[in-house]
């Protein structure tokens, strides 16, 4: 027999309680990790390589307000601007989807847009075919796979924001961005369908260098100050964080739930460990009598408590990591979650909580053992 074996035997003496305790830690930490992943997914914008160079220009009044198409030459002339494209969110409902389409559709300039989306990889002949056909579109790989779309297939959309329905021919498939789901089509096609209103949703601008990006936002804002369509230019990161700020209450809510989960878990584990040690007080007194020191008994209790919490963390947090790494959450959540990735930081958080849990739940029993003399312990009833 080894000391580790002795600790394991003690931990497993009441198997049902052991399984239930480990399960409670595992389920709680699984839930905690899931909440953390969801929170990250909802509040942490996806950044790709090109995002540091991109600037988004929108109407200063609101994102929903369009911008005049005539602003294009003015933006193009601003020093440091490498490329500009209109970027209008169409927001159509794809044929077959009843309430919600999991991918966005944007009207852009087919020649310049892929200059801006530098991370997107698409075959040059497909890009060429797209530019040549005004009713064609480039589709993200994930959307193409999800709907089984091939080049030449047609996609029909019902307008939800704009009063027009559109039909595109798939000219190409792109991939390599953080979100390979979008569909890009010609701004001109949207304009024609709407009766050429002379507006765009937003402008997407590519800066010639990262250093220039901040300067360009100021220049663009100033260029349209005191005009009938004042703009708000900001880096892509700032634009995304604007969306994130809308989730503030969700963050507090998820944070609150996470704290409650951890606290409930603490109570359960402390109670379990106290119970497990209390019913062994007599045995611990016998161990003391035969020569085990107080610190040996502390080590036994701590090891048992740590073991229980760590096993729970392995099953809960490790299980979450395995599960979310093996399922397509994007498909399961109908596109709401893209990555649903358990990060090393989240695993570290879960295991840290388990460690603290192990320590705290051992504290009360250790105090009891420290306070009880051998003689008192031997008088304890079984």
């Amino acid at each position: 027999m080894t000391t580790v074996g002795f600790i394991a035997r003690n931990a497993l003496r009441n198997k049902r309680r052991f399984i239930l305790s480990v399960s409670s830690v595992a389920v709680s930490l699984f839930l905690l990790v899931t909440l953390q992943v969801a929170l990250r997914e909802l509040t942490n914008p996806i950044n790709d390589e090109g995002s540091t160079l991109r600037i988004i220009v929108r109407n200063k009044v609101s994102l929903a307000q369009p911008l005049p198409a005539r602003q294009l030459p003015t933006i193009e002339r601003i020093p440091g601007v490498a490329a500009v494209t209109p970027f209008s969110y169409y927001g159509g409902l794809y044929k077959g989807d009843e309430k919600f389409t999991s991918f966005a559709q944007f009207a852009v300039d087919p020649v310049r847009s892929f200059d801006l989306l530098s991370d997107a990889k698409v075959a040059p002949e497909q890009l060429k075919a797209w530019a040549a056909d005004r009713t064609s579109a480039i589709v993200g790989r994930k959307t193409a796979e999800r709907y089984g779309l091939k080049i030449g297939d047609r996609m029909q959309f019902t307008g939800q924001i704009y009063p027009c329905d559109l039909e595109f021919k798939v000219a190409g498939v792109y991939e390599g961005t953080a979100d390979d789901r979008n569909v890009f089509f010609h701004q001109k096609y949207l304009d024609e369908s709407l009766g050429d209103p002379g507006t765009v949703g937003t402008w997407w601008v590519k800066a010639s260098s990262v250093e220039e990006a901040t300067l360009i936002t100021d220049r663009i804002n100033k260029a349209f100050a005191n005009t009938s369509a004042e703009v708000r230019a900001e880096t892509e990161r700032a634009f995304q964080l604007g969306f994130v700020s809308m989730w503030a209450n969700i963050k507090i809510l998820i944070g609150g739930i996470s704290m409650v989960v951890v606290f409930a878990l603490l109570l359960v584990t402390v109670s379990t460990m106290s119970m497990a040690i209390r019913e062994r007080f007599r045995e611990l007194a016998v161990l003391k009598a035969i020569g085990f020191r107080r610190r040996d008994l502390f080590a036994f209790i701590l090891a048992e408590s740590f073991g229980l919490a760590t096993l729970g963390a392995l099953l809960g947090a490790g299980g979450a990591w395995l599960l979310y790494g093996s399922i397509d959450m994007q498909q399961l959540s109908n596109g709401m979650f893209l990555m649903f990735e358990v990060t090393p930081q989240m695993l570290a958080l879960a295991f840290s909580i388990a460690a603290v849990l192990g320590l705290l739940s051992a504290a009360a029993p250790m105090l009891g053992v420290a306070r009880t003399s051998v003689v008192q312990g031997l008088k304890t009833l079984d």
Partner: protein, 226 residues
């Protein structure tokens, strides 16, 4: 020539505080116990015999006086020092056996040896020797719940013996046993004293059990009466 003393007690007192009242458990006891002796402590409940046994075994401390065991003044040892001393010098046998229910007979006996630096092989040898001494070699893989009361107490005696201590203390070791099992257990304790030279100190109420000892002393209200 008489055997050297293994235990020397001088003017030993133990006073418990219960709320506002002081309860005198032992009052000015002086006692010598010779090496190899089988001493029985008798007396009515509350007479202080268990307290005296606990102090000799180093699991309780006197309020005043001296308790020397093998020339070591136990009152001078700290908590850790006492724990080490107990592991090397004392074997315990309790009325309720106090075996660890999740360990086999073999593992229960091996438990005190986990605190030593003996190799696994050496530990195994010592446990087997102790098991043979109490006649339970064939029951080594049994859990306590699979043993009779007498067998459990024999395992407890083997556990007390396994570190080869000079002193074995037994607190009412036959209190939970039928007469046959009690005879067996007392026979083993007597054999340990007579044949192996262990000093055995046993607390008992039972005069028949006390008859197995080489000397019997009586306590009453915390004082020696003979």
């Amino acid at each position: 020539m008489s055997a050297p003393h293994i235990v020397t007690i001088r003017e030993l007192s133990k006073v418990y505080r219960q709320g506002e009242i002081n309860v005198v458990a032992l009052n000015n006891i002086s006692l010598d116990i010779a090496q190899g002796e089988f001493l029985t402590l008798m007396g009515p409940s509350g007479s202080g015999k268990s307290t005296l046994l606990h102090i000799i075994a180093g699991i309780d401390r006197p309020t005043k006086g001296v308790c020397r065991v093998q020339d070591i003044d136990l009152t001078k040892l700290d908590e850790s020092g006492l724990a080490d001393w107990r592991n090397q010098n004392v074997g315990f046998v309790f009325q309720t056996f106090n075996l660890i229910p999740v360990l086999t007979a073999f593992e229960n006996i091996e438990l005190p040896l986990l605190l030593t630096r003996l190799s696994a092989k050496r530990r195994r040898e010592q446990v087997n020797t102790a098991l043979e001494l109490v006649g339970l070699a064939e029951r080594q893989k049994h859990l306590p719940r699979q043993l009779s009361g007498g067998q459990e107490q024999r395992v407890a005696i083997a556990r007390a013996l396994v570190t080869d201590p000079k002193l074995i203390v037994a607190d009412e070791p036959t209190g939970n046993l039928d007469s046959n099992s009690a005879q067996e257990v007392l026979g083993i304790l007597q054999m340990l004293s007579r044949q192996i030279g262990k000093t055995v100190i046993m607390v008992t109420h039972d005069p028949k059990a006390a008859a197995f000892g080489s000397r019997s002393i009586h306590l009453e209200k915390g004082e020696l009466t003979n």
